[in-house]
Symmetry: C2
Subunit: 261 residues, 2 copies
Amino acid sequence: MCELMAMSANVPTDICFSFAGLMERGGRTGPHKDGWGVTFYEGKACRTFKDPLPSCESEIARLVKDYPIKSCSVIAHIRQANRGSVCLANTHPFVRPLWGRNWTFAHNGQLSNYQEVLQVSIHEPIGETDSELAFCWLLDQLKRQFSVQPDDMKSAFLYVASIAHTLKALGIFNMLLTDGIYTLAYCTNNLHWITRRAPFGKASLIDSDWVIDFQEETTEHDIVTIIATQPLTDNEQWHKMQEGEFALFHLGEKVETSGES
Amino acid sequence: MCELMAMSANVPTDICFSFAGLMERGGRTGPHKDGWGVTFYEGKACRTFKDPLPSCESEIARLVKDYPIKSCSVIAHIRQANRGSVCLANTHPFVRPLWGRNWTFAHNGQLSNYQEVLQVSIHEPIGETDSELAFCWLLDQLKRQFSVQPDDMKSAFLYVASIAHTLKALGIFNMLLTDGIYTLAYCTNNLHWITRRAPFGKASLIDSDWVIDFQEETTEHDIVTIIATQPLTDNEQWHKMQEGEFALFHLGEKVETSGES
């Protein structure tokens, strides 16, 4: 399995604190040593840092941890390989263009007997993972449903949420998907989220001894949501998502959620 | 204008030496201060480091310069903005998937009156540059010419070379394009290349006082081609490309070249 993390915020925010906690699980406090990656949005563009090395040993992870890149939308992933070898092509997140936007996807879980269901023709995978194929399949479905970009991008995300059960039927499918504005979390068994807003408090990481006082780092208007497979802090209340539930965030604010679809 | 660099090699090779020379031109020995980027291939996958900051001040550029990432195919770019603002979306190289491979593109020059000629429908730009639109147009033409991936990818690159004159007719179009195996260089007025092979010698950078002895860094079977807008070393013989000329490299070896098409 793997660990996922996303941030959705209404102001460009750095993820050094949360990323530091996640990266510890990449071979030190957790077994997820088969690569890691993180995608930061700046407007419609994004940049991805990834490495097939364990995050706790990666020079590039050290840079990302120490260098505060501010973004309203981030997706990060650390991998414990099941389908597909340990190599760059199989390292999440996966980023692909659609409708003149970058879409970024990361998956926790494992699918079985999926080749027949997940037929793709428009978006072809580069690596060998079930995850990248699932992403390509979702983009193919989106492109078929909306031949041009819908006026309201929320409808595209709600469409993805409505077809995600097809992927859940193939195994464990915890997913994060963003276009830099909206972030969709879809849960099979392993996703938590928290929205931080004023009055901000202190938070302490589970995986290291870092304690942060968000009041010193934020303004009263900031709204910052973190989504992760497992809570990253031990003194805050994280919402545990239910099987088949999705949550859609728009620049930090939850705008839609559901139970089993 | 901008500066371009590519490496094509038959064994994974680091580009620290050439990259160091190029990065000096990003605000120190040259005026190309409007961002930089570099894409490294590992098999069919690639990773890109980019920054809208000047390369000579960029923390990320420092990491790439000091951390030897070995690759058979690299494209790098430093930008002096003409079309499009200074932001991540307008920062080269541009990477897009086609036929289950990553294609990477960088451009030096400037096009005029191009909107009518460069109509795209399959690949839509994310940023505002003439360069990214030219890349999307080339990929659209490729997808139209070959509905599925050709058995011999060389034919795809020769097709791109054959239609590049349409872009040259719109202005200055010096281009680098790779799928990680083949690298195509197309020249309007500003491209040079050099192939290094045994017996290797010493080389000294123009833009810094770094001298390297390639004999200490290579084996006798290594073949490494560097392509750049301007020569990076001052004690070697670089081939200057002519207007309308292309050169196609396959893992370091030149496999095809032409005069004005």
